[in-house]
């Protein structure tokens, strides 16, 4: 219809418009769903007269968020830097471990079943022990965060290092490349998108690790604030702290996800 009415509109312009509408839809639909959810929540709590301490309406949470913003930020900072540090250490550790596992059959046969077994441990249950081992300082939370988040990196990196086309490895052999050369110039670059997909999972695990660590022991941090607020039956403050945590988690995950997309474009196919 539109084409008939406006012959000047080229096919390319139409395609661009369709693309734009699609993007709008991709962003708009989930946002609208979230908005509707919040609206129902707000209306529901008001209509049913639910006490704020049981379930505060979103507006009350927002109010807390705004009024206690400096307080929230004071507590957010330690959580954020520890999550980022835990994540970074977990990533390096994961890549190194996966590299070792893929480098030698002997190492893999010796360690891999143990690594998998390690993974089966209900890690949250071990959190208190980290305090016993590492004390009450940030080391305990950092090491726990690394502990819960490094495994996805190991598995993803290993998959990336192993999934190199056989012919490509034959080529390296045919070119008389050393295994170190093959690792550096073929295996590792090939694993980059895989590593990032592992890092995506690790980013959320790292935050969970720090928060659980803060639940176990802390002097400051969003986990501390959540406990403090729950001791005071300050449900709105709990949710406001969780809100800050979500925004950080989302941004963190988003950055890693975008980086992953970029590495897929550069380094080849996505790990499926």
């Amino acid at each position: 219809m539109e084409v008939a009415a406006n012959p000047a509109l080229s096919n390319a312009a139409l395609a661009r418009r369709r693309e734009m509408l699609l993007t709008l839809r991709r962003i708009g639909l989930p946002v609208a769903a979230a908005a509707l959810f919040l609206l129902v929540w707000e209306a529901g709590t008001r209509w049913a007269n639910i006490p704020e301490v049981l379930l505060p309406p979103p507006s009350a949470v927002l109010d807390r968020l705004v009024r206690n913003f400096p307080l929230l930020m004071t507590h957010a900072w330690p959580t954020i830097w520890q999550s980022l540090a835990g994540f970074a250490i977990a990533t390096v550790l994961g890549i190194v471990l996966a590299s070792l596992l893929s480098a030698s059959t002997l190492i893999r046969e010796t360690l891999y079943p143990n690594v998998v077994f390690f993974q089966l441990i209900p890690k949250i249950a071990l959190a208190p022990l980290f305090v016993v081992w590492f004390g009450l300082g940030p080391e305990a939370r950092l090491s726990f965060s690394v502990f819960v988040s490094f495994f996805p990196v190991v598995i993803a990196t290993l998959a990336g290092l192993d999934n190199v086309e056989r012919d490509l490895l034959r080529l390296c052999r045919a070119l008389t490349a050393s295994s170190w050369q093959t690792f550096v110039s073929v295996r590792l670059p090939h694993a980059v998108p895989y590593i990032f997909s592992g890092m995506k999972i690790a980013s959320t695990f790292a935050i969970i690790g720090v928060i659980v660590g803060e639940f176990i022991t802390s002097r400051v941090g969003l986990g501390y604030l959540i406990l403090f607020a729950s001791a005071q039956a300050e449900t709105a403050l709990i949710l406001a702290a969780i809100c800050v945590l979500c925004v950080f988690g989302l941004a963190f995950y988003g950055v890693v996800a975008v980086a992953e997309k970029w590495t897929i474009r550069i380094f080849g196919d996505a790990p499926r």
Partner: protein, 289 residues
């Protein structure tokens, strides 16, 4: 020992044509450029030994382009791997210029069925990959890389990444990569079999054009009869079960070679004869010949 000779009775009617005569092995084989002497490959499996390459006993001259033609499973790729030093021989020996080949060599070129390009490197860097890997001076080879890419029509794609290229173009990059170190022997393992028919014809032509100017000793593994004949100076026919070389044929077509050669009766007759050899191979009873 089975000698790889043309059976007289299956020769075409006009056996006066010189290319159909069996090619004798020179008395002094040490003079040969590439020499396979009773090379054999046996895999040990749980259900007993499996003969992957039954017997390979032939010489190749310098500058000769040889197609190894056979059905899938006849061991032609394994044979190529053995020549390239990627697979140890179970029995026999392989020599290049009198030196025994038992490991990969820096002066070989390899092209596989898949282009096996590195997606994160540009076309030019992919071509130069062997130079980097073999720690040669990149500067010495850059001009050569540009020349090769121009020769296969990829002058405008040097800075592109493989994913921006079509399948045929990628395989051309692989071709350039195989040639970048000026190899003494180019080994091609069904390099065009993953391409569609049109790209494949295209690639055949590109390869022939390359060979018009650029003589290299080459082993080309394929299961396409027309491709084998069109590209090569000589065709070896392999059969499966048992894995044997059953025919060894010098082709009469001159270079520079043109597509029109495929229309000649000679070309078609050779193809027909080769097809017969392959089909006869299917009919053979299994077991040692």
């Amino acid at each position: 020992m089975n000698e790889p000779r043309l059976p007289e009775k299956t020769a075409p009617a006009d056996s006066a044509v010189p290319w159909l005569h069996p090619r004798p092995i020179a008395p002094d084989r040490n003079q040969a450029y590439l020499s396979l002497r009773h090379a054999r490959k046996v895999y040990q499996t749980r259900s007993g030994d499996v003969e992957a390459v039954g017997l390979a006993d032939f010489d190749i001259e310098a500058g000769e382009f040889v197609s190894i033609l056979g059905p899938s499973g006849c061991g032609k790729s394994t044979l190529l791997s053995m020549v390239g030093g990627l697979e140890p021989v179970t029995e026999g020996e392989i020599f290049l210029e009198g030196t025994r080949v038992n490991a990969p060599r820096r002066d070989f070129g390899y092209i596989f069925q898949d282009p096996t390009l590195l997606p994160w490197k540009t076309v030019l860097d992919n071509v130069l990959f062997p130079i980097h890997t073999q720690k040669r001076q990149v500067a010495d080879y850059e001009a050569e890389a540009h020349r090769l890419l121009e020769m296969v029509g990829l002058a405008d794609f040097k800075a592109k990444r493989p994913r921006e290229l079509s399948g045929g173009m990628r395989q051309r990059v692989a071709l350039c990569r195989g040639l970048i170190n000026d190899p003494k022997l180019l080994l091609m393992d069904e390099p065009f079999s993953a391409l569609d028919a049109i790209s494949r014809d295209d690639m055949n032509l590109a390869l022939v054009r390359l060979w018009d100017k650029y003589h290299k000793t080459a082993l080309f593994v394929t299961h396409s009869i027309r491709e084998a004949v069109f590209l090569a100076d000589r065709v070896l026919v392999m059969t499966a079960r048992p894995s044997r070389i059953v025919a060894d044929l010098k082709l009469p077509f001159a270079r520079p070679r043109d597509v029109t050669v495929q229309e000649t009766p000679e070309f078609n007759r050779i193809c027909a004869w080769l097809r017969e050899q392959i089909q006869a191979g299917y009919g053979r009873p299994a077991g040692p010949g």
